[in-house]
């Protein structure tokens, strides 16, 4: 005999520990099974695109820090690359290497946070998160040496970076790189073979490759669905074409694959930074540009492979000192497109882990 049940609609959020910010999900449940999900966004909307229209090109860098606040360096890089493309600025080689080093360190920091919070969502409350934060702290210390800030960095400028790395930075970076592979091993030892993690994440929230491409999904989620697409390789920017690294991919695109891809990407990032330290030349760190630059009329789109996916900026110039239009292609926002398909039919607890494995940052979703 089957028991007839009534579907219930509940609000998950906007204040909820597992929504990673101020985010609301209207979930329709049949008992514990998810029937429908509707994301409700905008609680953190600050109008960054409109604000950018009244600021000079250099000032907009500070706005980009506050998009994905766990990966300011990547945001800076995407924006300044769009300005450089618009204005036709050549970046000195040393600056390109420093930018790659900081972007890759930022990727490690962001993936550590994603992994920690995924474990948090799985019910391993706080302990694995603090392990991840311990390592992230060292990266933030390195950023503090570079630019004095830890989260809202504003380190990059159109044409380069605003100051050279201090003398002490290089040995500190060397120590960190020496320790990091061991940390990742420790982390993997705790998580990757863990029976509970495997039971909760294997084959849960799968996303097929075709659907990922049709839904404009990018980043680790796309690669977990076994699509080998990484802008650093497919459309190399800065000095990535001179560096050796692998692009890890998953096999089925479930929560576990997404976790594993991030872990492997951290190892590759360490590899990239090591090569950069070996190859970095001396020289200037910033091209000679005016503070109030006036790029010629026109438009430009530039994107980088951020920790969450393809982060792009589309800038339109009318010849003035402020961008006429500054559109942000935010990966976290677009990656929410397939959330519904990933969670419908799964249990409420799986919804939480799947959402955690997508790794969205609300500052970037709402802008």
């Amino acid at each position: 005999m089957t028991i007839r049940t009534e579907p219930v609609t509940i609000n998950l959020g906007p204040q909820h520990p597992s929504t990673h910010g101020v985010f609301r999900l209207r979930v329709t449940l049949d008992g514990e099974v998810v029937l429908d999900v509707e994301p409700v966004l905008g609680y953190l909307h600050r109008g960054s695109e409109k604000l950018a229209e009244t600021r000079s090109y250099v000032q907009v860098v500070t706005l980009t820090d506050r998009l994905d606040y766990t990966a300011s360096m990547s945001n800076n890089l995407a924006y300044v690359r769009a300005v450089e493309k618009l204005a036709g600025i050549e970046v000195p080689e040393r600056a390109q290497y420093i930018r790659v080093i900081s972007a890759e360190l930022q990727r490690i920091a962001s993936h550590l946070m994603a992994t920690g919070f995924l474990l948090n969502d799985l019910g391993a409350f706080a302990t694995p998160l603090m392990y991840c934060f311990r390592e992230r702290e060292r990266i933030l210390d390195l950023f503090e040496m570079l630019c004095g800030a830890r989260i809202t960095l504003s380190y990059m400028r159109p044409g380069g970076v605003f100051q050279d790395a201090p003398e002490d930075f290089w040995p500190a970076l060397g120590f960190f790189l020496k320790d990091m592979p061991g940390y990742i091993d420790d982390l993997e030892g705790l998580i990757t073979d863990n029976e509970i993690v495997l039971a909760r994440t294997r084959d849960v929230g799968t996303l097929s490759a075709e659907m990922a491409i049709n839904d404009s999904i990018t980043g680790p989620i796309l690669r977990a669905s076994s699509v080998q697409w990484d802008l650093r390789r497919a459309d190399p920017y800065e000095v990535y074409d001179r560096l050796e690294f692998d692009i890890p991919i998953g096999s089925v695109g479930d929560n576990f694959d997404r976790y594993l891809v991030r872990i492997q990407e951290m190892r590759q990032s360490v590899r990239i930074v090591e090569q950069c330290i070996r190859d970095i030349p001396d020289g200037p760190i910033r091209a000679d540009t005016e503070y109030f630059m006036r790029p010629p009329e026109g438009d430009a789109y530039a994107a980088v492979e951020g920790p969450k996916g393809e982060l792009g900026f589309y800038l339109v110039s009318d010849g003035g000192i402020a961008p006429y239009r500054c559109k942000i292609r935010a990966p976290s926002f677009i990656n929410l497109t397939s959330l519904r398909d990933m969670v419908v039919g799964w249990k409420m607890g799986d919804l939480i882990t799947t959402f955690g494995s997508i790794d969205v940052v609300m500052g970037e979703v709402d802008r």
């Binding site: 909307h45 491409i213 999904i217 459309d235 789109y301 239009r325 497109t337 397939s338």
Partner: protein, 147 residues
């Protein structure tokens, strides 16, 4: 390296299939007729040697005399990209066909453009405001919105 398809090349291909629909082009972009957007999108998606299966982003820019929509397209298999543009010459309720049935990744992006720029996407399954609330007056990214 991703090869950017030139405007000449793309407009030639589009005009072969849809005569006169890709009227203007420059080195990078091609401007197409608004009414033909959905058919051209499907053509670009389905033609094997174009293979634009990935919609990178949709942008709307307010140029005061017209509102321009910019579609960045990508083929991951062939590693080439293209930029498609179309113009709406009216400011009250400009209408554009929705491309959600071709690229589902357009879903949230079209809702965002409707919310912030007030472009109505015909045929979108769920065209509601996304970042702002339903009662919000106006569309803030327009140049005549002064807050």
């Amino acid at each position: 390296m991703t090869r950017a398809l030139s405007g000449q090349e793309l407009s030639r291909r589009v005009n072969e299939a849809f005569p006169g629909k890709a009227s203007r082009f420059n080195d990078a972009d091609v401007w197409i007729d608004t009414e033909a957007l959905l058919d051209i999108s499907r053509f670009l998606y389905e033609t094997p040697d174009l293979d634009f299966q990935f919609l990178t982003s949709i942008t709307a820019v307010d140029y005061i005399e017209y509102i321009e929509l910019v579609y960045h397209l990508l083929s991951m298999r062939l590693n080439h990209s293209a930029i498609l543009k179309t113009r709406c010459h009216t400011r009250d309720e400009p209408k554009v066909p929705s491309v959600v049935e071709v690229w589902r990744g357009a879903d949230l992006q079209e809702r965002e453009v409707w919310d912030l720029m007030g472009v109505h996407f015909e045929g979108h399954p769920n065209l509601k405001r996304i970042l702002l609330w339903e009662e919000f007056p106006g569309h803030p990214l327009r140049k005549d919105f002064l807050g």
